[in-house]
Amino acid sequence: MSAEPEEIVRRRSRVGGRTVLIAVVAIAVVAVVLLYGAFAGWFGGGPITLVGAGATFPFPLISKWSSVYVNRTGVRVNYQAIGSGGGIAQITARTVDFAGSDAPLSPTERAAAPGLLHVPETIGAVTAAYNLPGISTGLNLTGPVLVEIFRGNVTMWSDPSIANLNSAVPLPAQAISVVHRSDGSGTTFVWTNYLHRANAGGWGTSLVGKSISWPVGSGQLGNSGVAAYIIQHSGAIGYVELAYTVQNSMTVAKVRNPAGSFILPSLNSTAAAAEGAAPSLPAPDADWSQVSILDAPGPDSYPISSFTYLLVYKELTVIGSSMTQTKAKALVDFLWWAVHDGQNYSADLVYVPLAQAVVDIDAFALQSIRYNGQPLR
């Protein structure tokens, strides 16, 4: 080591000089950016920006609304798809103006954030998607059979419990490979609630939630991950949000509803479910934790669907000084637009438009919002 050539030493010092230069430039750039960020607020009031955070499922729809709405009114809507749990945490801490959640607030969550209203914004359907070579879409399945499959009790596609529902279909003697979500998700919440509803003994409450300890199967990240797994694996079955099955042209099961019909998941059959459930919805500021449109009444209702909610405070002054009267008015106007005209953008993005009965409930909720006790709508 003592014979380290001088040349290396010289090279090192040269590199050192350049590194210092780069570091100084980098620090300068960062400083300028930070300063601009800190002082940007001083340059004029700027347009109104509404900030929301929460569920990833409605994100494509909300971003469509956001881009249309800013052109119509100049009001920006900045929605961060960080997950329902994160959205609820942020609205509880009052760091956002509204939140999005796939599941209604639990009684504990509701107690932590008193005065939050539930505003159903759109509807999601969860499909049982599968990959069986030669078998097209529309295999008949029931809730109890799905429970047996996801418990690992039914392991072959040729099992009598499946064959009995599909006498016309030649089912292969192939192993069933179950796939579920690996991340916490509102889709899992809906799916496990449905399985519990179908067979409370076989699928206990310890298996109901946004993320559970699965009896069998492998996990994949996001709807896209589960969809990719099913498309690649012959014999696979999993649960996927309707929009993904439509976009990927996946084969999905018809599921039997309480009226006894096997229903293919679609925008129409899901809308029918929401329509059927509307009369039983609670008041906007009441406890929604028991609300469910699973197994909704009606002969054409697809049985596995749910609302996704916007959460907004009934008295907007609780948000703090950032919520001015102008901003409060803009927020309510945006939500009003979203549940009315905004619904026209749903179908193109494979979201289910709200039924009129639900829109009326939303309108009632939005009219009850106050700023300093004053109505805004």
Binding site: L21, A28, S182, G186, S211, S218, G225
Partner: protein, 319 residues
């Protein structure tokens, strides 16, 4: 550029005697700052993990169940196990390949091939992990399922680690994608270490009549082993902390099983998967999991350092 000129002007205006102390002071502040930051991060993590630590105690490390449905039960064992297995597998596959690349690039490759190949290897080290994950899910996973895993099973299927049904997203696949990801890092850094070996080492070995291979083994690799070891530790760091690519390949199952063809889960991947939708206690348990990962990295580093020191000392004795 303007700010740079200002900095220069200020620097020129300073009395000569002030420059050195100022430089020393600034460097010290930055160096101490990094250590303090690590301390603060650990403290904040420990504070946030406190509800989980209090509720589960040491059983958190041994527990095999992660169920956020009340009554909540959280245990870290399957994730610790999965992290160790996939990282070890990644190094087992990745290190020999990386060393081969590094030796070829520094010792054997003709000059016209050396520069473009080096460039490509360094480029690979900068590819974001989600890209590897996507490649893994769409290209590697089907190949693993239909070609590689059946072939491995046909030849080595008698070993307990290669039993079960290969489905292409399992611990083995995760280990392979991690190996692919650590190869550029390890080979790029190892190559630097090999290049730093003085030419007279090689000349001395060759002049004693050593073959190319003997020269490389005795004069070059031995001289550079501390640097190579550092490269391997860097690669290990990438493997242990990887989230996206692992999530997409490992099958995400919270279970400890011997077979590499079974699904598993790692700490980093599990945290990334569940952070968004976690309730208060689960969040605290996830943060405790992060602490466990930090502790594991620390232990691995200490262990590696001890090993390097032992290897170096032995080398001195031999010389």
């Amino acid at each position: 550029m303007l700010s740079l000129r200002i900095v220069r002007r200020i620097a020129r205006g300073l009395p000569r005697s002030l420059g050195d102390p100022l430089f020393k002071g600034l460097s010290a502040v930055v160096a101490i700052g990094v250590v303090a930051l690590l301390g603060i991060i650990t403290l904040v993590l420990a504070f946030a993990a406190e509800p989980s630590i209090r509720r589960f105690g040491p059983s958190f490390l041994a527990g095999g169940v992660w169920n956020p449905v009340p009554p909540e039960v959280f245990g870290a064992a399957p994730f610790v196990y999965g992290t160790l297995v996939t990282s070890a597998l990644a190094l087992l596959i990745g290190v020999p390949i990386s060393l081969g690349i590094a030796i070829f690039l520094s010792e054997l490759a003709p000059a016209w091939l050396r520069i473009p190949l080096t460039y490509i290897v360094e480029l690979l080290a900068a590819v974001p992990s989600v890209v590897y994950g996507l490649w893994g899910i769409f290209v590697l996973a089907p190949t693993m399922r239909s070609v590689i895993e059946p072939a491995v099973q046909a030849t080595l299927g008698f070993l307990p680690i290669f039993q079960g049904t290969p489905i292409g997203s399992d611990k083995f696949a995760a280990g392979v994608i991690l190996a692919v990801m650590v190869v550029p890092t390890i080979s790029a850094v190892s190559r630097e270490a090999l290049l730093a070996v003085p030419a007279n080492q090689r000349e001395a070995a060759l002049s004693l009549g050593a073959t190319r291979w003997e020269t490389t083994r005795l004069a070059v690799l031995r001289y550079a082993r501390a640097g190579i070891f550092g490269a391997i530790i860097l690669g290990l760091g990438r493997a242990v902390g990887e989230t996206m690519a692992v999530t997409m390949m490992i099958g995400n199952r919270n279970a400890i099983s011997v077979s590499l063809f079974d699904q598993g889960q790692t700490i980093a991947s599990w945290i990334a998967n569940n952070f968004t939708e976690a309730g208060p206690l689960e969040l605290s348990a996830l943060i405790e999991l992060g602490l466990v990962l930090m502790l594991m990295s620390l232990l691995i580093n200490v262990f590696a350092r001890l090993m390097v020191r032992r290897v170096l000392r032995r080398g001195e004795g031999a010389a």
